[in-house]
């Protein structure tokens, strides 16, 4: 028997286990998936917890339930990948030898990377929404907030779900408007980037939206340290706050540092088209784990898992890895007031206006705020658990980005 080992049973690892268990000859191949947490988190749901729309319980399920029959599920932590010997040492002393390794350990927040962030008010007047606990803690803080300055903040790029900080800003505006105390709440959006978003056309739309919502945009803010109630930048700028909702530095799993397989942020250098790790032919990586210039988002993982399955089958047969990931990403941007935006883009084409997934019919509108987009966003929780995670194809949603239905201006950025 040969062995495929998947490290990480989040969105990426689980989807790979599902695809491979269907496609591989099970008389020849055994699949093992490893996770250090028995829970599986519906991470897009974190956004809704602070605002009282979801609870923590709504976004957590037991991970084992989503691992297909016949796949070995091990609750254990990997200590080191010894790539040259094709084996993984576990923290409990066991070892697993593999023929093919898939790394799907994701990314995590590291508030300790910013001077003063942990010491000067973490979970007191500083919160994150990138963990179920952080979002839950904020849900207990927000109802008591009677007015003052709120800063929505990003320390450094890249981050998981790059639109999430914008969503937090829009939702915060909506939340306090609903409570009738919006006039007593000042909201700053503080980013290290030159605009509200990384892609210029979208940055313009979002910048306009922030302005319309009375949210002050602070750009090019390189955070040096956090003092109590104050952000300080490297060039001596400051932003005062009563409540900071921050996106701390994101980093890949420390396993990569221990194994010599990561870059400066512990992301795995990976071929951006084939998803093969640069370090060794029999190692592959997908999702938030990689150093790819694509979004760290569930939709990306969904598209990559189809490409990677094809390439692993080719690899097993000794064939060229022909399936090529194009950077396809799509994401809803919840903007409050029962509306949302939708973006669809890839390595080459920035988000543009149009309809998705079908030309003219949509039903979703790209780069425009609609109620239907919001319904799409809210349906994602069901779709995630019952369709996406189970590897059931979604009609009209392809791993390659389509150009039909998009209004592509001649000046659209082709990178």
């Amino acid at each position: 028997m040969k062995k495929i080992l998947i490290i990480g049973a989040g969105t990426a690892g689980t989807m790979m286990a599902v695809h491979l268990s269907r496609k591989l000859n099970r008389k020849e191949w055994a699949i093992t998936i490893l996770d250090k947490d028995e829970n599986h988190y519906y991470q897009p749901g974190y956004l809704f917890i602070p605002f009282g729309i979801y609870t923590k319980q709504d976004v957590i399920r037991k991970g084992a339930k989503y691992i297909p029959a016949g796949v070995e599920y091990l609750l254990a932590q990997a200590d080191q990948i010894i790539a040259e010997q094709n084996r993984v040492k576990l923290k409990d002393g066991r070892e697993i030898a593999y023929d093919i390794l898939i790394i799907a350990t994701g990314t995590n927040i590291h508030p300790e990377e910013t001077q003063g962030m942990v010491e000067n008010g973490w979970r007191e007047n500083i919160f994150d929404i990138y963990t179920a606990d952080g979002a839950d803690a904020l849900s207990k803080k927000l109802p008591d907030f009677r007015g003052g300055k709120i800063a929505i903040h990003v320390v450094e790029m890249p981050i998981k779900c790059p639109v999430a900080p914008l969503e937090i800003a829009f939702m915060t505006d909506w939340y306090f408007t609903n409570k009738g105390i919006r006039k007593d709440v000042a909201i700053d959006f503080v980013t290290p980037m030159a605009g509200a978003f990384s892609k210029p056309a979208t940055a313009k739309v979002m910048g306009h939206m922030l302005k319309e919502r009375g949210i002050n945009l602070v750009t090019d803010f390189g955070t040096e340290r956090v003092e109590y109630g104050k952000l300080v930048s490297y060039d001596k700028g400051t932003v005062d706050y009563d409540l900071l909702i921050t996106t701390p530095t994101n980093m890949g799993d420390a396993l990569m540092a221990r194994s010599g397989l990561g870059d400066d942020l512990n992301y795995v250098p990976t071929d951006k088209h084939t998803l093969q790790a640069k370090a060794k032919d029999n190692i592959f990586a997908l999702g938030d784990t990689t150093n790819l210039p694509s979004s760290k988002a569930g939709s990306v993982v969904h598209f990559q898992s189809e490409i990677l399955t094809e390439n692993i089958l080719s690899y097993i047969q000794g064939k060229e890895l022909k399936a090529s990931f194009d950077g396809h990403s799509n994401c809803f941007i919840e903007s409050g007031y029962g509306k949302a935006f939708l973006l669809d883009f890839n390595y080459e084409l920035d988000p543009v206006e149009g309809t998705y997934p079908l030309p003219f019919l949509g039903p979703f509108s790209l780069l425009r705020e609609t109620r239907l987009n919001h319904l799409g966003k809210m349906s994602m929780k069901f779709v995630y658990w019952n369709i996406l995670l189970k590897g059931i194809p979604v009609p009209g949603i392809a791993s390659k980005m389509g150009r039909m239905g998009k209004i592509i201006p001649e000046t659209a950025s082709i990178q």
Binding site: E156, M157, P158, P162, M193, A194, S198, K199, D220, G222, E224, Y234, D235, D263, D264, L265, P293, S294, S295, S329, Q415
Partner: protein
Amino acid sequence: MATKEIAGKTVNVTEEGYLTDPAQWTREVAQAIAAEEGITLTDAHWKVIDFLKKDFAEAGVLASMRRINKTGGIATKDLYDLFPDGPLKKAARIAGLPKPTSCV
């Protein structure tokens, strides 16, 4: 694609003034671009530029500020002092490297 006269040479540049042909970069060109940015290059500046060029040649992508700090050994604070208002953008332009792409 535009061309530009700088330090007695004709070089190819993007709209934003980033060199497109690394072979056209010289230390004199770097000094001239720095002057446009209001910067007089010192040894400390050259340490950053040399690191960026060496790292770019090896990695094929422009180093991040974190990488300049962790691998290049140059504190981010110093980087802001040396190249005020957008250190990476300015240092990359002076080093004849591509404009930093913002991450998605």
